[in-house]
Symmetry: C2
Subunit: 127 residues, 2 copies
């Protein structure tokens, strides 16, 4: 009899290597002013995304891609960024925050604890 867990595990081992060593997604979703949840763009994420892209290039970070993304659904803690494959989330509100994420996390493979979201940063129930 086949073992589905083992089959999946074999498949997973055969995944191609990561295309980007670090893939960064910054939410640039915008909701109308006055929306209950707010939005990352309303909290200033768009110029920060532009800044992050430009600074990543200036720093010459290899294997790092910075992208915009739609609503990541942790709006209350925004402007939010998530970095994969590690799946670490940050709140970046100003250029100094972006600089620290770029140098400490993306260049030096560390973590920026003061900006990191945790499992306790849970949005309020919907509706």
């Amino acid at each position: 009899m086949s073992d589905p867990d083992r089959a999946v595990s074999r498949e997973t081992r055969a995944d191609p290597p990561l295309w980007f060593e670090a893939h960064v997604f910054g939410c640039t979703n915008r909701r109308p002013d006055g929306h209950r949840r707010g939005s990352c763009a309303a909290r200033g994420s768009e110029p920060l995304r532009d800044y992050m892209k430009a600074r990543a290039k200036e720093l010459g970070l290899q294997g790092v891609r910075v992208n915009s993304a739609g609503c990541l659904d942790r709006c209350e803690f925004g402007p939010v960024i998530v970095i994969y494959p590690e799946g670490v989330w940050y709140r970046a509100e100003k250029r100094e925050d972006i600089d620290e994420i770029l140098t400490v996390h993306l260049r030096d493979k560390g973590r920026v604890r003061r900006l990191m979201l945790t499992e306790r940063d849970v949005p309020p129930p919907k509706g």
Copy 2:
């Protein structure tokens, strides 16, 4: 003397749990008609993204988030999708492709080999 590798390794172990079990990003970047590289939106990615979001909901997939993203820079192989944390890339050109990714990869934790990009799917040099 401190060992930076060990320090990073300690940090990494302390990362919060994944917020989404599977985080799907579909490129919806659009370039002008006739652009040398084309773009995922010009290849029809936007309605496919909408379809994927709706079907993921209908299938009741827990812990799966489907997002739009800006240019993922593998335009020639688009419309492209990347799924994290595993970092597996797919080319999804029609609804049947999306259905297969949703059921085989996201629901059943398998892989859709016929649609998967590999390390050999390299865009042409820039410029």
